[in-house]
Amino acid sequence: MKKVHLTINRKTVEAREGMTILQTARSSGIDIPTLCYLKGLSPWGGCRLCIVEIEGSAKVVPSCSTPATDGTKIITNSDRLHRLRKATLELLFSERNHICPMCAYNKGDCGLQHQGYVHGLTGVPYQYLYPNLPVDLTARYFGMDHNRCILCTRCVRACDEMEGTHTLDIAGRGQHNRVVVDLDTTFGASETCTSCGACVASCPTGALFDKAAAFRGKLNRSTQHPTICGECPVGCGLTVYVQQGRVVNVMGDLESPVNHGHLCVRGRYETWAEPRERLAHPTLRAIHQPKPVTWDEASRAIAEATRGLAPEQMALLVSPRLTHEEAKAVQALAPRFGRVGMAAGRHEAALCRVARESTSKIEDLAHADAIILLGAQPSQTHGVVAARIRTQVRKHGARLLIFQARKSDLDACAEICAHMVSLDHALWDRVGAVLRTARHPVLVYGAGAMTDDGVTVMERLIEILESNDQAQSPILLPLPEGSNSVALVAAGIEPVEDVSAWLEASPVQYLHIIAGDAPDGGAHLLREKQATAAFQSAACLVVQASYRSALSNMAHVVLPSAIWCERGGTVTNLEGRDLEFRPILPPAGEARGNQAILKEIFR
């Protein structure tokens, strides 16, 4: 990489060719004020705060979008620049209704306020415009207050470049410029918004704010804790904001090699912004009413229920969310339970086996020029993978082909969508034409690729890819769905795809289900056919879970377990990375970690 040399404020600095003046200055420890610039997004040059002077030129230029060139002499801090920047800020403050004391913004590091302070802005010499602007509160997790918007377009670019949906854009002219959702609808009515919250995380003012965090104190006065998201096997890095023993926000961890700061709705919001009833005490179901009891009483009740039972009369069904450490504790109980199984989706076992062998990384998508999505729904199940696919297609020209998957927003990015097996020659000719030009194909597949039809399509695709001798051999990226199912299956826990058949193999007297911190409290298990009847047939049903659900309501004994931010332990993500949960808060109420519970009950 060619080096260039220039001076900034009379100091000689070095830059790689292609770096902007702003990047060069910041890498040399010289700060230039910015508002519309955000590291990781393409530069916009819209706010005009990062202007600098170049010797020999009467014009000032935005440093965020001007390349550093050899031999230029740059000044970033003259009186003239200060005056111009201050004037820009005065115009920004007077344009909309920036009523700081009434702002829902809680990040505590408002970019507009901060720049006002830095530039010593005590008032505005102009008349304020006081425009009448809407507030859109229709989204489930966040709101948009146009009164606070400075049109920096960071949200527009985050939506486009990180999530890849381009839900947001700017409409109108001049003073009537406004951020719009889709074709000027609301967030609630948007057909493309995935609620990933990248727009909110990138907003420098209070224009976009998280509803659950609004007016709840400043994030920069919270403690910040890194951990991981346990909702799917991607294992995104989270930064958890805590105030007074409460999670007040969750953002993507910029340092995470998995997600680089981006999250999907499950990690960003479903972890903390969803009202759910925590199970706070061990509970025994008396004749009519559930009764809170002590751990001792629960333990005695279970000892009573299991007394004299043979191992084949006892079954332990666990969630794929368990950590390695929790799985060890479960396996230690294997001699007492005739059956120990992990609840798994259809074809999860086969997927886990291939995922175990795979060395592919999500990052491999960044080099893909053709992405084949087979039998998977990443927009629903692995949001950050879906975002990578979208951005790779939309920003880097990769061609997307979708097979054996239900309709999703990704269809809009795809060149070919075959939702069902097709024998249509024209279709396969088109598939062949696309794949023949590919050099770096990536095949992303899920459970749907493991069905008979899926395998047929997969074989056909591999055949086409292998006939292309210009291409690298395709990178296969399997997407299992259980958060830690690959490792749990590898550790020897039996994946159970058909719970009722598993239970009916021989009658079960004692059934212990560890649903853990599944947001639905494990209720999804009841959607399996005849599962409800199978669970009810056990003389004693014990549910170990974090949230109240239809499943816990059925249980004879409920054991409250810790949630993601209260747990420690490791999991292995779908790329094979070992990732660590950090316990950030003590378990709520009487809840305990899964290992501690098993130790207490089966000591």
Binding site: H98, P101, Y117, T122, Y130, N132, L133
Partner: protein, 181 residues
């Protein structure tokens, strides 16, 4: 030996919540130091109504009605240095949140339609000052010499601004002493 003449100060509270005056009272024991240097004339704190000729005039609140405007113009005419104290005086702030709406709608909402109002009527007594169509910060009416933003400004910020002015300097503002909320 004669003591130097005390600097005369007047304060007024226009369309605001009195929070800035409360924050001023938060100067606590520093009020005693201040009382040695300045003489408080008309002010909601002294309850003296008529503004005399003063050195420093301090205005809290935005200009919402004709009386506010009258007091502001009187203060400006009778003081040498005029200070806008707090966000309402500086930007219009919360009182100005009515500006995007029509005055008639705002008044009807406040006096007639509010959920807790049983039989509401619009105030019609000529003694009640007439509301202006839009709430305005004070610099839109008169020249302001010093702005102290904040809702309210901290006692420390007020102390800093007053002591600088008493020392004959213009306060310098930056990240360390500015706040808009």
């Amino acid at each position: 030996m004669s003591t130097p003449p005390k600097i005369k100060v007047a304060t007024a509270w226009l369309g605001g919540c009195s929070g800035c005056h409360m924050s001023f009272l938060d100067l606590d024991e520093r009020l005693i130091d201040l009382a040695n240097l300045v003489e408080f004339t008309a002010s909601p704190v002294t309850d003296l109504k008529e503004i005399p000729e003063v050195d420093v005039g301090i205005i809290e609140g935005a200009v919402c009605n004709e009386e506010n405007e009258h007091i502001l113009r009187t203060m400006r005419a009778r003081c040498k240095i005029l200070i806008a104290l707090g966000d309402c005086a500086v930007t219009g702030n919360i009182p100005a949140m009515r500006n995007p709406f029509k005055l008639s709608e705002v008044v009807a909402r406040g006096y007639v339609e509010t959920e807790s109002t049983q039989i509401g009527e619009l105030p019609a007594d000529p003694a009640v000052p007439k509301l202006l169509a839009r709430v305005r910060p004070i610099h839109e009416f008169v020249k302001v010499d010093v702005h102290i933003p904040g809702c309210p400004p901290d006692a420390d910020t007020i102390w800093y601004a007053l002591t600088e002015l008493l020392a004959g300097r213009k306060p310098k503002w930056d990240e360390s002493n500015l706040r808009y909320d």
